[in-house]
Symmetry: C2
Subunit: 420 residues, 2 copies
Amino acid sequence: MTLKPSWVASANAADHPFPLNNLAYGVFSRGDDDPRCGVAIGDMILDMRAAEQNGVIDLGDTALFELPFWNDLMEEGPAVWAALRNRLTALLAQDAPERDRVEPLLVPMDGSEMHMPFMVSEFTDFYASKNHATNIGTMFRGKDNALPPNWLHIPIGYNGRASTVVVSGTPIRRPHGQSKAPDADAPTFGPSRRLDIELEMGAIVGTGSEMGHPVTVAEADAMIFGYVLLNDWSARDIQPWEYQPLGPFQAKAFATSISPWIVTRAALEPFRTDTPPRERELLPYLQEPGPMLYDIDLSVSLAPENGSATVICETNYDQMYYSAAQQLAHHASSGCAMSPGDLLGSGTISGPEKHQLGSLQELTWGGKEPIPLADGQSRTFLEDGDTVTLSGVARGDGFCIGFGTCTGTILPALPDPFSR
Amino acid sequence: MTLKPSWVASANAADHPFPLNNLAYGVFSRGDDDPRCGVAIGDMILDMRAAEQNGVIDLGDTALFELPFWNDLMEEGPAVWAALRNRLTALLAQDAPERDRVEPLLVPMDGSEMHMPFMVSEFTDFYASKNHATNIGTMFRGKDNALPPNWLHIPIGYNGRASTVVVSGTPIRRPHGQSKAPDADAPTFGPSRRLDIELEMGAIVGTGSEMGHPVTVAEADAMIFGYVLLNDWSARDIQPWEYQPLGPFQAKAFATSISPWIVTRAALEPFRTDTPPRERELLPYLQEPGPMLYDIDLSVSLAPENGSATVICETNYDQMYYSAAQQLAHHASSGCAMSPGDLLGSGTISGPEKHQLGSLQELTWGGKEPIPLADGQSRTFLEDGDTVTLSGVARGDGFCIGFGTCTGTILPALPDPFSR
């Protein structure tokens, strides 16, 4: 596939994240306006509420863009998703006959504020990069118990907290929590001193499944509406003390950031790639009928307050051992009902090389090996004022499918978190 | 406190679960009618939608009972909760002057179908009965590692799945899942053969908390709207294979049943009781300023298909080491935002005696000691057609505060779960 030219000139640059091939879905506002759904095209946003109100977009009897969330479209299912994508492509293509109707509906991305693109129904986080699981396992449980015996058979995941999934740009308050030093007799409660990131992709479930009815991997793939970048902020001092025996809880519950633009599965089709060879044969319900991972370059940068940004990680989504489709099929395997708006975090994406590690825990080997930053600084874990930015892009022949960025700046812990 | 007499005669029996002292909140329908909110009074239900429409109930400018859920009332906060309870008490008391306006709004409980009383925002399950934690720990990790070192310091919990919380009476499909026999080389996928129950109480969060802001135990207590019975169905063969290192997932995700009537915190006030003495001093953020547990008798019965029911467990909610208020305070301690409609499962409630154990896993010691049932039957784990019924009641001086029952019948596993 090559670039699809658009009459929105900025969309035609070979390195622009939002060409006509992409058509990413977000929610924006300008000034005092209400937030509303919009589609990214070059440096502009197509106002979907206005487009639906004036009839440029008409997907049936029900208004799908009255609310500032993409959930209503998700619930319509894949046929309507395809119809919308076809219609948008026709409206924005180089020689679109309806250009005059559409042009007044475009607003500049510059100066627009982005909001959560969808209502998160439930959030599940996985643990599906083998390099990450091995690294974390080595640090938490020792080299001999690094990879749990179930890891090569199950896309391991746990339910996370949906109420604290926030859009890129939302400041992240350093959390308080319980932790215990290895040699201490009792735990203490205070601000986390080992605040970390996790570079992940988030898959958004678009169509649900019925309680009591598992889905195949192929069905799961078709249920996925799109993908976002996801930063699963983590408190590495709270986590080891609390996580046995029932898994991470408050170490992960305080915040998860996502990028504001949903890149649809349709836009990513040219970038499908296979998961790595299986080291143990998977049970049939988890076997993929085709390539369901994507070739997406990912990076993380870290900038101290008033300082320059340093790229601290460059990796690729193709490092996952399990695809989102496999994770979703496993999630529904017991008959767990899946809902439109469910968000599945891939788990931290780490490659085999040092510069490909997706968390500070791994990059600094548990805080023992500080990483250098620009301006002579260094880091083990995050300091107040640090800004972390995830970026993602799939690179095609003369075009890109970009995710934009997912950023967050660390605010100091509340001095007295219980005062009002 | 003694019985508050009502002009609804059935509500005045000393052993009736729904006297005027209770005023439990549910959602009901009759025949082809839409589900709507109702209040239990004796053998009758007060139709709240009708009461609001004709002005008998008027809590302000906004209609609170248009939707068949109690969430809209929850969001109004404790002052409105108290105003409604006062108004209902005045309307239904022995010599209520407005009896003639209210009587036409009553419908018989008999013949009414009960629905989910609220929309579950997120579901969190805890592990806060010391007897249960010790028993399960012994079976899963051995006697020496039974109680994890954090257990006396943290009300341990994990995020569960809200999409499969169902109302009492909903049939429970036996789930499929991955399990591995201890001596097997690889796991298999098939119907669970160790299907279990967990006797729990569910606390319903009525008012939310802001992201980034923990709450005190006293604030947490005030945020709780009410309580229900909760059966956390569990697949004990899926659980041990999947739960390391990130906690239970599909073993718990397929179904959770709750009783249909929300018993408000206000109704339970006379039954407050202290948690047991602390074995280790808790960190200040978890210390209770007063009694926040409740004296509620609980029981479980099991009836085979076409067979008689046998009571297999009798215990009390006062067996918990941590109260729901402590659990909620811990849940928000990292700044995790809590939402109206969040459901917190207490964790299995087991007493120290054999007949006080709240799961078959404990009652049969991992399936090794079958328990006798009526009609010469016995059980290790649940069989198809079995009906499990939880019951709960707080016993006052000449009156009861009843929870009614929480039941579920096991359907056979789907022969081919992936066929359509």
